[in-house]
């Protein structure tokens, strides 16, 4: 890992660990990336990781309730992706549900390994999440978090500041040092882009 660049004050620029890679500029779908991973493409694997590391971690944290075990589950998930990507068939459906199923199975396996009963039955994919509201809620969060990872960084930050930073539009404008009109335009654009991504089921 290269050294972090420094500001004049001597403090390092924000740790790269704090954010994930922005992949919006990459036109490849999740399904295409998985297919490439199946052929042993390590670059595709890294792109897929950038898109899905946070959604997988969020799902694992939600199910396992412990950060350390959730970290293990993320590693298990991506190990599984690497091993089983060859079995993925694009014609059967988009990549997001397939990855969701892989992540869920890895999480269930982790609970089993610890002698804990699975909280939900293992699913083949998420198109039919079953009756429990919890499964529906997990799937919603998965899709939303994945869609967020697909936004350009400028738009993703605006959404995160507005929804989870509790900053008003004016405060965001001041914080980011951009005009209020730009904040409004970009926020609307970000919501529209998220709508496109979510309607397209994150292919």
């Amino acid at each position: 890992m290269s050294a972090a660049p420094t500001l004049r004050s001597g403090l390092p620029v924000a740790l790269r660990l704090a954010t994930i890679q922005v992949v919006a500029a990459d036109p490849m779908t999740d399904g295409e990336l998985i297919a490439r991973v199946g052929e042993g493409d390590s670059g595709a694997f890294e792109l897929l990781y950038g898109r899905y590391a946070r959604p997988v971690f969020a799902l694992a944290l939600r199910r396992l309730g412990d950060r350390g075990r959730a970290e293990d589950a993320v590693q298990e998930t991506f190990a599984s992706v690497w091993r089983s990507a060859r079995s993925y068939r694009q014609e059967r459906g988009p990549g997001a549900p397939w990855l969701y199923a892989v992540a869920r199975n890895a999480i269930v396996d982790r609970r089993r390994a610890l002698g804990e009963p699975p909280v939900e039955p293992v699913e083949e994919a998420a198109q039919d999440p079953g009756p429990p509201e919890r499964a529906e809620s997990s799937w919603t969060a998965w899709r939303v978090h994945r869609a967020l990872a697909g936004l350009p960084e400028t738009e993703r930050r605006l959404i995160e500041l507005a929804y989870w930073g509790e900053l008003s539009q004016s405060e965001i404008a001041e914080f980011l040092n951009i005009p209020l009109g730009t904040v409004k335009t970009r926020t609307r654009s970000a919501l529209g882009r998220l709508a496109d991504l979510l309607e397209g089921e994150l292919s």
Binding site: M1, S9, L15, L191, A195
Partner: protein, 198 residues
């Protein structure tokens, strides 16, 4: 629980009914999903860099080694920065680096813990930068997190650039304590979304 923004404030009033409904659905989904968690340092990069991902990787151990190395580097860097800065005379017994969350990814901070005084209080010096200035009557709040509970350490304001604040708190700090900085919320007992975290 985060207070969601007002949808109409976000999108304005000049949308078609159809587009408004489409965006409002996204708004509802964002509120329902909540924020994605921050990735821990051990998960910052794809495992194995794609060569033989995870083959023989002792799971968290490899990440932990990287995390430790990164933490040491950051501590050394920030420690060096803070030393010789304003509180150069402060006798720090421990330093805890903080990094910005996705809400404030450029924010940074470091907490210097001093020696417990005879009355049982712990002096500490907190240095932050990259946090947005808040409007009047807006404050940041520092919490220590232990066993799932949050202990309030105090409030502060920031100015442009670097801000350094002194605190003194009666808690006994432990090695596995976590720290967060949030925006103070009137009447709320629980902290809001973290802007800085350890």
């Amino acid at each position: 629980m985060t207070v969601p923004p007002n949808f109409r404030d976000l999108v304005g009033h000049d949308l078609s009914a159809e587009e408004r409904a489409r965006l409002e659905r996204v708004h509802e989904l964002l509120v329902e999903a909540g924020p994605p968690p921050e990735l821990p340092p051990s998960l910052a990069d794809a495992p194995g860099r794609g060569e033989e991902p995870l083959a023989g990787l002792p799971r968290r151990r490899a990440g932990a080694v990287l995390s430790l190395a990164a933490a040491i580097a950051v501590v050394a860097f920030l420690g060096g920065y803070v030393t010789g800065f304003r509180h150069s005379s402060f006798d720090a017994k421990r330093e805890v680096p903080m990094h910005g969350t996705s809400v404030a990814p450029r924010a940074q901070g470091v907490i210097k813990l001093g020696k417990q005084d005879s009355a049982g209080n712990w002096p500490m010096v907190v240095t932050v930068r990259g946090l947005p200035r808040l409007p009047e009557r807006g404050y940041y709040e520092l919490f220590v997190k232990r066993d799932g509970f949050f202990l309030r350490c105090g409030n502060f304001n920031v100015k442009a650039g670097t801000t350094t604040v002194d605190f003194s708190v009666p808690y006994t700090f432990e090695r596995n304590d976590g720290w967060i900085v949030t925006r103070w919320r009137r009447g709320e007992q629980k902290p809001g979304p973290a802007l800085l975290t350890t």
